[in-house]
Amino acid sequence: MSTRTSCFGLALAVASTGALADTAIAPVHPLQDPAALKAVFAARIGHPVFVLRFGLGEHYADTLVQNAAASDEFDRFQAIPGQPMAEGEPQKAGGIDCKQKIAFADLDLAAGARALAQAREIAAANGYKPLENVELGADVFCKDFGWRAILLTEGDSNAMLEITWKPDGSAPKARQMRDSGWSRVEMKNLLAGSAKAPVTAAKAEPAPIAGDGRRRNFLAGIEADLARVETQVGAPLAFKHIGIDATQLSVEVFPPGTKKRVATWLVNDDGDLRLWHEDDTIAFDCNKPFAAKDIALARLPELIAAAPGLIPAMPGAAVKNVHITRGVFCNAPSIDIQIEDERGYGDIEYDAKGKLIKAEVR
């Protein structure tokens, strides 16, 4: 690319348009007159630059440019159709992670307009959301400089279709992001409308089970609410983790018959109970369940109440939360109580039967 020549070419061009800078008005229909849009940007910028990014749509266009004569000077210019263009906004050099660029003279806005039209055609034919604009620039890895359109779907917020073109609008390519990663999609299929956007049925949120109106303090006891969770699960609870604070009880359990899934049940202090989340277990995590009989549940309120007094150096401390798990080494479950005062935290650990293991300032 003859970047050097192009920059000096632009310098000559802008010398003659410099007087127009203060009256640079963006065209009313920039997609229909991309040459006029480019001329307005050139006049407003007023000196040779490289283009790092250009966003193009009919309602708005903006660009990030680098001064060809000062490589650490970056400015952003914006154009609103029919409006005078404002001066550029200086940009922090440290905030520019990717410096892939083209000379302004090589900026082909007509190619961008064609790319946008094609992307909109594909969106309409395949059920994607309407597209606002296309963008010229590098990808997230600071490679593949070109025009880029991102098409999103109504039904699946994780799915997207990316279409890219070279800066001159040639060589369009498409790929689709799904849960499992990127996969290439043929442009001819997209243009034919035979590569429909993925549709995922909205998951129905399970309704919470209302409480009895009694205000709870879970630090004073959880047995009654564990029984309610057990009723919902329909089997003795196989715990992975029990988390307690004053206003919420969180219970992670393995559903009956599997150690490959874990469900998280939440009980709020007004007694509302709901299945919050269910997901696959993590392979290297401790996935060995423990049962209610394995821990000193009946003594739990007493152990929690006694915890702050076990660290004399924190006389005003209160219990922040309680966790019951097998820990990272998958040992017998332990009861870990975190206390806090206005200056820090303390940790108290009991074994599953309520024997004190440690009590120390963190």
Binding site: D72, K92, G95, R343, G344, Y345, V361, R362
Partner: protein, 182 residues
């Protein structure tokens, strides 16, 4: 009381703000003399500084070790003549008394009148003559840049301009330790 008066005397002998310094035109250095005088009326010396922050808007946040209970750090805030504190500082992990004793900096060893000169030096080193103060910090630690284990009190002047951010570290004597520009 005698020690408190002594501290005020020391502070009075060395002005700690530099509104008249040529390099301070764009940063109204907080009136640290007033701050420390007010502080001396509330706590007895020695004042041992864990951390000091001077913000762009002139607010000051000073963390000091409680000499009556040396494992406690308290925050004192100064905002254009108004002092507030102490506020207990909460750590994720309680530092030991020994660690705190090592970390703190005796207030009387800090040469505050050097600050305007440090700002001028920072602008020069960064080649940012128009740089504005964003934050000035003092705390013991290791200088950035090359791997160092200096573990000394370090002034860090954070400055910015429309196009760049910069940080320059100085020791208490005003020697430049590290220059970093984005």
């Amino acid at each position: 009381m005698l020690r408190a008066l002594l501290l005020v005397g020391i502070l009075g002998a060395a002005p700690l703000f530099a509104a008249t310094a040529p390099d301070s035109v764009d940063y109204a250095w907080p009136n640290l003399t007033d701050f420390f005088k007010q502080l001396a009326g509330r706590i007895p010396p020695p004042v041992k500084v864990f951390r000091l922050k001077l913000e762009r808007d002139g607010k000051v946040d000073l963390w000091i070790q409680d000499q009556a209970q040396r494992d406690h750090i308290d925050s004192w805030e100064y905002d254009h003549g108004s002092i507030k504190g102490p506020f207990p500082v909460k750590f994720d992990h309680y530092p030991t008394v020994e660690a705190l004793d090592h970390h703190v900096i005796e207030l009387t060893t800090i040469d505050f009148p050097r600050l305007p000169g440090m700002l001028a030096s920072a602008r020069e080193k960064l080649k940012m003559p128009d740089a504005r103060v964003f934050l000035v910090e003092l705390e013991r630690g290791d200088s950035h840049g090359m791997l160092t284990f200096s573990d000394i009190p370090i002034w860090t002047l954070h400055v910015d301009s429309p196009r760049h951010d910069g940080r320059v570290e100085f020791d208490l004597g005003g020697k430049v330790l590290n220059v970093d520009k984005d």
